[in-house]
């Protein structure tokens, strides 16, 4: 299943910040983690991650530092900042409200036939 572009974009910031809560990571590792967490259904164009990371850095949600990879290449690592943590907490609340509302709506609404069969 592929997830719609707008939805991926909306989820991007909390997802990246949430992943960075486990410790600092570099871009490719962040993307891999996104793939694992979503069972491969949240696919970003890889290149788009970097402008996003730069935006988060400009906003002060993450900080970056250059390190070296095992192969000896320059590698940029990102870490969440206290400000990022605060934003993440806020987003979490917002998403909880949205998810809650959606769940209630779907429980009361008439389900499409295909889904209804599964419930029987």
């Amino acid at each position: 299943m592929r997830i719609e572009k707008d939805l991926v974009a909306a989820a991007a910031t909390p997802l990246v910040l949430g992943i960075l809560m486990d410790g600092e990571l570099y871009g490719y590792a962040i993307l891999k983690r996104v793939g694992e967490l979503s069972g491969g259904s949240m696919q970003w164009t890889d290149g788009m991650l970097y402008p996003l990371l730069h935006r988060l850095e400009r906003l002060g949600y993450v900080s970056s530092s250059w390190g070296t990879s095992e192969a000896g290449r320059r590698r940029k690592h990102y870490a969440i900042t206290p400000e990022g943590r605060a934003v993440l907490a806020e987003r979490q609340e917002q998403w909880t409200v949205v998810a809650d509302a959606l769940r209630q709506v779907w429980q009361t609404a008439q389900r499409p036939p295909a889904a209804a069969e599964g419930w029987a």
């Binding site: 570099y26 164009t45 788009m48 970097y50 940029k76």
Partner: protein, 449 residues
């Protein structure tokens, strides 16, 4: 992780392609390349070969236009190209990024010290005027010698004429205030400037392209030097206004310390700025030449009209002739600069027609000047000044006639623009040779009068 030659070459090509995107900085490319290589390594681990792994990785990186647009949205300031005086340390292993700045500042201070010493020893007279160029030139040339890593042969090729010029200017028994001395003072910097050009082109003075680069450099240097001078003047003016209000007299400080250091130092700094920004900022030249070409045509036409109305060429004042020479030299600089700024592959257009108009009006002015000079020579006989002016005018005439001829050919589609470019660059050394003759041969011929 074993990476293969073909794959490395592909990654290199990809880098070159991404580098052309203004919104993606060198550090971003490093980051993207790291990503690309990780992706390739992961694909290889699943059994893909180099080629397949590269293709998958590139595809997953996404449409470069879209990625670049996203970068531009995030870093819009990059679309205003920035001139970083101390480059970011993206190329590891090289010289520390501040080294060039340190070298430039040291050379600028050195040039200031040399001029200051010259002022102190030569008492500010004609001796100083003769030697001023000689004092500053080594520091400017040293910058290029250092920057271009010139070979010993080229450095020697610079040093020998420089030394010869220094000897000639200082052992010739010039009559005080004589015209051969003034001519030498005026022409020595031309010789030095062409020598600086040899240093600038890294010893490849036979290359037309490099000579054109030097023409471009000269124009941009003039602009930068002017900007630095304007900024410096404002700064000094404000400081002095404050000092004078509190009762201090800053005049001696200005004359004895600030100007001897600021004027030559700014030249070295301006040279470095042009060098540092040449691949960062669009040249201002194309805009300036488009503004000034029509204005200069108007000026030349006005001069022609006034000269025609004045009548009697014999009575033309000597100072007017010198002034007109200066104007023609300036026109030529404008012509050369606008040619250097033009895209040589573009088809002929309005600006080329304007350039032809400029050449034709300049030729008309030059013809008037030549007539006036020849009548004066017929009337009053030869003098070093007259011969020097006549020689310069003949050089200008040849330059302009051929440039006009080639421009006509280009406008009619019979010639390519490169022919015009090549003519300009090939003719430049002639001016240097003439200036050298005026400095070296004129004084003894006219017995140092």
């Amino acid at each position: 992780m074993e990476l293969h030659a073909e794959l490395e070459a592909q990654i290199d090509r990809w880098r070159g392609y991404v580098q052309r995107r203004q919104a993606i900085s060198a550090a971003d490319i490093d980051e993207l390349e790291d990503h690309l290589r990780e992706q390739i390594a992961d694909r290889q681990a699943t059994g893909l070969d180099d080629e397949e792994a590269f293709l998958v990785a590139i595809k997953r990186l996404g449409n470069l236009d879209a990625v670049s647009r996203e970068f531009a949205r995030e870093h819009s300031e990059r679309l205003w190209k920035q001139l970083a005086l101390v480059p970011e340390g993206s190329d590891d292993g090289g010289a520390p990024p501040w080294r060039e700045l340190a070298v430039v500042l040291a050379l600028a201070v050195g040039a200031g010290l040399a001029v200051k010493a010259g002022v102190a020893w030569m008492d500010g007279g004609a001796g100083l005027a003769r030697n001023l160029g000689l004092l500053v030139f080594p520091f400017l040339a040293s910058y290029f010698v250092w920057k271009r890593r010139l070979t010993v042969q080229v450095a020697a090729a610079l040093l020998v004429p420089f030394a010869a010029l220094a000897v000639v200017l200082n052992i010739y028994p010039f009559a005080p205030g004589g015209s051969t001395e003034i001519l030498a003072v005026l022409h020595a910097p031309v010789v030095l400037w062409l020598l600086a050009g040899v240093a600038y082109v890294g010893g490849r003075w036979r290359s037309d392209g490099r000579r054109m680069d030097f023409a471009r450099f000269t124009g941009e240097l003039a602009i930068y030097y002017t900007l630095l001078a304007l900024g410096g003047a404002v700064l000094i003016g404000l400081t002095f206004a404050v000092l004078q209000i509190v009762g201090a007299d800053p005049e001696p400080l200005l004359a004895e310390w600030i100007l001897p250091f600021a004027i030559p130092g700014a030249l070295v700094v301006a040279a470095w700025l042009v060098e540092a920004k040449q691949n960062v900022v669009e040249n201002i030249a194309p805009v300036l030449t488009r503004v000034f070409t029509p204005l200069t045509i108007a000026m030349l036409l006005a001069i022609l009209a006034v000269l025609a109305a004045a009548g009697g060429l014999v009575d033309i004042d000597r100072n007017l002739l010198i002034l007109m020479d200066a104007i023609l030299v300036l026109v030529l600089c404008l012509l050369l600069y606008s040619i250097s700024a033009r895209d040589s592959l573009a088809p002929p257009g309005l600006s080329d027609a304007l350039q032809l108009a400029l050449v034709v009006t300049a030729l008309a002015v030059d013809a008037v000047m030549l007539t006036a000079m020849l009548t004066r020579i017929a009337e009053f006989g030869f003098s070093p000044n007259k011969i020097a002016a006549l020689g310069l005018n003949l050089l200008l005439l040849v330059h302009l006639v051929r440039a006009g001829w080639l421009t006509v050919g280009f406008l009619r589609g019979q010639r390519r623009f490169t022919a015009l470019e090549r003519w300009q660059t090939q003719y430049l050394p002639v001016y240097g040779a003439w200036a050298a003759i005026v400095v070296v041969v004129f004084p003894p011929v006219f017995s140092f009068a």
